[in-house]
Amino acid sequence: MATTASTATAKPAEQQTEVRRAQNPVLKRLKRYAPLFIMIIPGVIYLFINNYLPMLGLIIAFKDVNFAKGILASDWIGFKNFEYLFKTEDAWIITRNTLLYNISFIILNLIIAVGIAILLNEVKKKVAARFYQSIVLIPYLISMVIVGYLVLAMLSGETGFINKQILPLFGIDPISWYSEPKYWPVILVIVNVWKNVGYLCIIYLAAIIGIDPEYYEAATIDGAGKWRQITQITIPLIAPVITIMTLLQIGRIFYSDFGLFYQVPLNTGELLSTTNVVDTYVYRALINLGDIGMSSAAGLYQSVVGFVLVLLSNYIVSKRNRDNALF
């Protein structure tokens, strides 16, 4: 009541000012929304500095950076940095490693996570289910540095658990894990599954819990067993979630978890042939060698291929189902 009265009395005055302001509607609109624009200022500036400036900074891949001259004034050298990069064997190794590791991670994580999620949903005692769920998430919670310690405790050459406790049981001689590149594809895949499967499992479990129980009731009445319920109801109904999660990972197939490839092999030079990926290559070229040309070329290579892959995978999702697309 009070508000209607006050607006009624305020009306004549408002009309007057409106006449005056009508000449400049943009200004009026700006004034009305000024507080909202003030709110976004910190975020807009932050994203500009943290994200957009580095995008502009990608031009250094085409420059011979000389800090004495400054970045902008350094000489343009066209595609020279890329020529150097792709002449090396490293370019091929890091591309191969990045792609092969990510492909195996995506496939294995998917199968194991969906499997565990389905079984977790079958556990009748809810307290037990919640306990199992919390435990499988622990590896996802901790940092890669800690994972590095855990792997070291298992694999250390002189004292590690595997060499001292497990291999003797089978009469196998100790293996110096940290100097044999051939074992690392298997080790890294296992570590990645161990660390990340809990996360995917939670996502798939949330999707399974969302399935209408009526489907299962109907199936039970029709005499369908557990196995048929899983293959004919559960998996088809969580397929959209599986598709999105997988395509998101495919969109990032050219990026890798730096910690997994840097901390877990303890940054060991001897293992580079099977542990070097684009991210670790860029890091080492920049920080250890100070080679801005090479590292920026490899970084741009990653940014551009990664961007194309994100667009491509999103295009595929949106063709299948518009609602599932990221944009």
């Binding site: 709110m39 556990v123 940092s143 540095v145 800690i146 590690g160 406790q165 741009l300």
Partner: protein
């Protein structure tokens, strides 16, 4: 008949999950037992779940050299608190106007945020800009600034929350009552959004707590190491304990052999145990954060 079959099935599942639980926890148990093993029995029989000789030597040594650990813990706590608070504030302030259907240019703004998730400059330009332009090498700012918005993802999640969970009508009626935009935001929107703020705040807290990458590239001064950076340095170079300690109490340490292997593991225990102890209390929100994070923002 059906009942016994069901029981066997349930039992089999429990056996399977107990195996999974053991696989998840076993490395942690190994870490813990190793840190309590005497150096002599490690040299003799390696890391073991049931060592022949227990010992507190590693912790005694770390206690004598506690200054490094407490300082790095302090840095981690400081960075985590400030980073989470500032990051959460920036995200909320940015996402609320985006959620308003009447906000001018909100499409462009959403794209401005979203594009940062699609494309990024990567490590080299970022590193050069932060070190050359903003001079953040060896500064605590380098541990805080790069992680503030985690690539805009949380901003979009928050915007969706504001859009779906806060009816536009209450914003309108407050504004008719004469409340300004800031008053509406602080007095109405934020209190109504506590669940999402708590969830995202928790994810950011964990992100800052676990972050070692920014420290690895921007911090070379060991006085500024966060907990993860200290752990990282000791993992890659066990001698770091010795070098760092010998500057502190050289005479004492030179004589007594430092139990390097066990001290290293004890460090990791000190680094991870607080997080694991707190985990049961925030577990529920952590799961929630992961699930909303996976669904598109």
């Amino acid at each position: 008949m059906v009942n016994t079959k069901d029981k066997i099935f349930q039992a089999a599942i429990h056996v399977f999950f107990i195996a999974v639980v053991l696989m998840c926890l076993m490395p942690f148990v190994l870490l813990l037992t190793t840190s309590f093993t005497s150096e002599a029995s490690i040299v003799k029989e390696g890391y073991s779940l049931v060592p022949s000789e227990w010992s507190l030597d590693a912790y005694k040594f770390l206690w004598s050299d506690a200054e490094n650990i407490t300082r790095s813990y302090g840095i981690t706590i400081f960075v985590t608190l400030i980073g989470t608070f500032v990051g959460l504030s920036i995200s909320a302030l940015l996402s609320y106007p985006m959620s308003r259907s009447d906000m001018p240019m909100k499409k462009q703004l959403a794209f401005y945020v979203f594009f940062t998730m699609l494309f990024n400059g990567g490590l080299v330009p970022t590193y050069i800009i932060y070190t050359q332009v903003f001079d953040m090498k060896n500064s605590l700012l380098a541990l805080i600034i790069p992680g503030l918005l985690t690539n805009g993802f949380f901003v979009l999640i928050m915007r969706t929350f504001f859009q779906n969970s806060i009816p536009h009508a209450i914003i309108e009626s407050a504004s008719i009552d004469g409340a300004g935009e800031f008053k509406i935001f602080f007095k109405m929107i934020l209190p109504l959004s506590l669940p999402i703020l708590a969830t995202i705040g928790l994810m950011q807290t964990i992100g800052y707590w676990n972050d070692w990458f920014n420290g690895l590239i921007y911090i070379t001064d060991s006085k500024l190491f966060s907990l993860q950076n200290l752990l990282n340095r000791i993992l890659l170079n066990a001698q770091f304990i010795q070098n760092n300690a010998s500057t502190l109490n050289a005479g004492e340490v030179a004589n007594a052999q430092i139990p390097l292997e066990t001290v290293r593991m004890a460090m990791a225990v000190i680094g991870v145990v607080p997080l694991l102890c707190a985990y049961p209390f925030f577990q529920k929100y952590f799961v929630k954060g992961l699930v909303i994070g996976a669904v598109k923002g």
